[in-house]
Symmetry: C2
Subunit: 185 residues, 2 copies
DNA sequence: ACGCATATGTCAGTCTCTGACACTTACGGC
DNA sequence: GCCGTAAGTGTCAGAGACTGACATATGCGT
């Protein structure tokens, strides 16, 4: 079994336990035992307990960054951002049910939500320079950050709304709605 | 000495230590010793080490909530949010230098930023209902959250930009700039 | 079979945070 | 002034996350 496969397997076990008992009520020891490994090995796959839920998102971030970069320059930055995150939602394939369960655990645990937003700040540092180049005038750095971080908030909101909803509205629809509400015209 | 005064005193000691050695390099034990108390007592004043930097912000949150609530209903929600956060910036009096140093520590430590974002989510839950009432149409909950959380992002960005800047531009100016960049017209 | 790199378990230790208990201090009623 | 209560503090023990060090096992190419 490849290293990534083992990681995914442990994450799956962890998320199931979190969903049932709550993030804080489950110890690393329990996850490790349920996965047939030692607690020390768990920490070799995940630097922190939270990472079993959040995981490594650099691949996705790069996808968004590249999509954003390839958007036409005459398009408004806000529309480019919407398209880039829409592309991510469209491309993130896999077990929809598992994704939803993961998002549910994530959105219902304050410390996990915070950690996730923290990861989004890393994304913002990746995306901001691209937006910055497409802005004119003063304080482009601040303005680019404001746009990117607001976009990330909308993205996060679309995902959590989708995860907590019963019906099967697509996350892309929630994304469009959030972007339309906030963004500049 | 009142309880709040003691708390502020310990927080001041802690922030100075964090600013000099970095948040992770300073133990609770060291803060306690430098403050002339035991580590156990430190945790009686602050539930977590991070709270010595972030502190209790419910008073400020209530100020923003009340300001927001008293804004005219025919004003656009985005403008009301801008005014409410502007009011907070105008009213938060005290040692500007200390505030700036606190913000610098906060914005340069990942775990602190995460904790701060967690606090913002609490604020969002407080403000969203007010905005929600002033929206028409579908999905008001999602749209209110999108507006409020984007406003919080702008607020946070204004503060960090101010803290990291050399010149003495007012945070209110950065706030206006960020709001003008993102908000709907 | 051998050598090597990778993966794992065990152990010891640090640090944050909590509960329990004992002790001191401050204060209001008598 | 004396006493009972309440609030604040220190000490101790312990859980839980995480790290470094060391030894062992496992797989793989030669």
């Amino acid at each position: 079994m490849t290293r990534d496969a083992v990681r995914a397997q442990i994450a799956a076990v962890a998320i199931d336990l979190f969903a049932e008992h709550g993030f804080d009520q489950v110890t690393v020891e329990q996850i490790a035992t349920a996965s047939g490994i030692s607690a020390r090995s768990f920490h070799r796959y995940f630097p922190a307990k939270e990472d079993a839920v959040i995981g490594d998102t650099t691949v996705w971030a790069e996808l968004v960054r590249d999509t954003l970069d390839q958007r036409p320059t005459d398009e408004s930055p806000w529309e480019s951002l919407r398209a880039a995150f829409g592309e991510l939602l469209a491309r993130s394939d896999g077990d929809r049910d598992r994704q939803r369960r993961t998002m549910r655990v994530l959105s219902s645990t304050p410390s996990l939500r915070a950690r996730n937003l923290e990861k989004h700040l890393m994304w913002a540092r990746m995306f901001a320079p691209i937006v910055e180049e497409r802005l004119d005038g003063d304080h482009v750095e601040l303005r680019a950050q404001a746009l990117v971080q607001s976009a990330l908030v909308c993205f996060d909101l679309a995902l959590t709304t989708w995860a907590d909803s019963q019906d099967d509205t697509s996350p892309v629809d929630y994304l469009a709605l959030a972007f339309a509400t906030v963004g500049p015209r």
